[in-house]
Symmetry: C2
Subunit: 225 residues, 2 copies
DNA sequence: ACCTGAACACCGTTCAAGT
DNA sequence: ACCTGAACACCGTTCAAGT
């Protein structure tokens, strides 16, 4: 559903009333609310309120709420940093995915959205192109490049989702302490979990993310020239 | 929020009215609705209706809707097949993750749920233990085992999410044909996407999934004895 | 202990009407 | 073309009350 076509005003027609809004303004405000209060709090009614308009006015600019979310997501993807042109392909890939991760962590609530409607919109298009280019520079053949692209994306999305599932802080720390107690007291049927309790309970972050990234790139590069 | 404690009846108390339901029945019915109509259609009101009860009666068995979703998810994870004890560790891992993938694809709507509340509940506990055991059998040291576990899970979840984002069929085929036309007509700034259009447009499935799985395992095993 | 009636505070979306 | 009033068809959750 809803293929993200913002439908820029095009209000040339005579008889037309001048628009009070633009789709860009709607997206910007939506993003602001999402960043401040979380995407869960983003409703058509709140968004309209913040824009000084009735809820149904939004349907002039976007066909439905999902289209707005798609646009916000692509706007966000636009913040992902492109690697400098002369970096090594491997480094380029890692830095792009790291940037993507950091950007997504900005709006954790949007992750379920990303996950089910990925890679639509102009900025996502750009990101994909850059990734594919780096993979080919790494001398991966066409098949491997596409598969590696898929794997890297799946991994990154999944990782960020897990990471964002619990926001860091006191509450998270207490939770992890509780889990640690639980794991440590496990019977022998759960020996591995019990033995690895210390490590399992560490909040995953940049080092863990990067390590997985390298493993995937290595795994694909290995089977190639 | 909501740590998945089904709170089994415990209706021993005198003066008590005999329960018409049990938490297991609630979960079973919820799963049925999810499988038939999609999780999007699963509301407290519909669920209550299907159980022949008013919506608020459900709060006797679960503190809120999320707790029900958690329980449904863990129930689902219970269907993941454990590998035969004597298989090679690598094969064991791949078959477990493949089974997990197939099970999740049964209830695509639940994937956004998995993604943000993973690995809670007894069945998830079992799955984690089995994965960790296989990884250690692969002579990965403790650190590598935990990181590989994380990477495999992130990858699988992300992959399934992408896969489930568009359900297969006529509609999907047409969409892919359209994307192919678009990619093929791209200007030189999008040379890689254009060149790889044929492959990018293929619906990912079991082979692609398995290939990525092997790449990750290889990537982690490489840096070890 | 278990369930209900009634209500609260919300949703997204549509549609006819106004300018 | 753009926006509004009013309504439709829903939500999850709470609370006092009944048995």
């Amino acid at each position: 559903m809803s293929e993200t076509k913002p439908e820029e005003p095009a209000n040339r027609a005579r008889g037309g009333r001048p628009p009070r809004l633009s789709s860009a303004q709607v997206v910007a405000q939506a993003r602001r609310i999402g960043a401040r209060d979380g995407v869960e709090q983003l409703s058509m009614r709140r968004l309209a309120d913040a824009l000084g308009v009735r809820p149904n006015a939004l349907y002039t600019y976007f066909p439905d709420k999902n289209a707005i979310l798609d646009a916000v997501l692509d706007d966000l993807v636009g913040d992902v940093e492109r690697p400098p042109t002369r970096t090594q392909w491997r480094t380029g890939l890692v830095s792009m995915m790291s940037s993507y991760r950091r950007v997504l962590l900005t709006q954790p609530g949007l992750i379920p959205v990303t996950v089910s409607r990925p890679m639509i919109g102009p900025n996502a298009m750009r990101l994909r192109e850059d990734m594919l280019t780096q993979l080919r520079r790494g001398a991966l053949d066409d098949g491997a490049a596409v598969h590696a692209f898929l794997a890297l994306f799946a991994y990154t999305t999944g990782f960020v989702a897990f990471e964002a599932a619990r926001e860091p802080g006191r509450h998270d720390a207490e939770h992890r302490a509780g889990v640690h107690r639980l794991y440590s007291a496990l019977p022998d049927e759960f020996a591995s979990t019990r033995d690895l309790a210390d490590r399992l309970v560490v909040r995953p972050g940049d080092p863990e993310f990067t390590r997985g990234l390298h493993a995937i790139i290595d795994g694909f590069a290995r089977a190639n020239p």
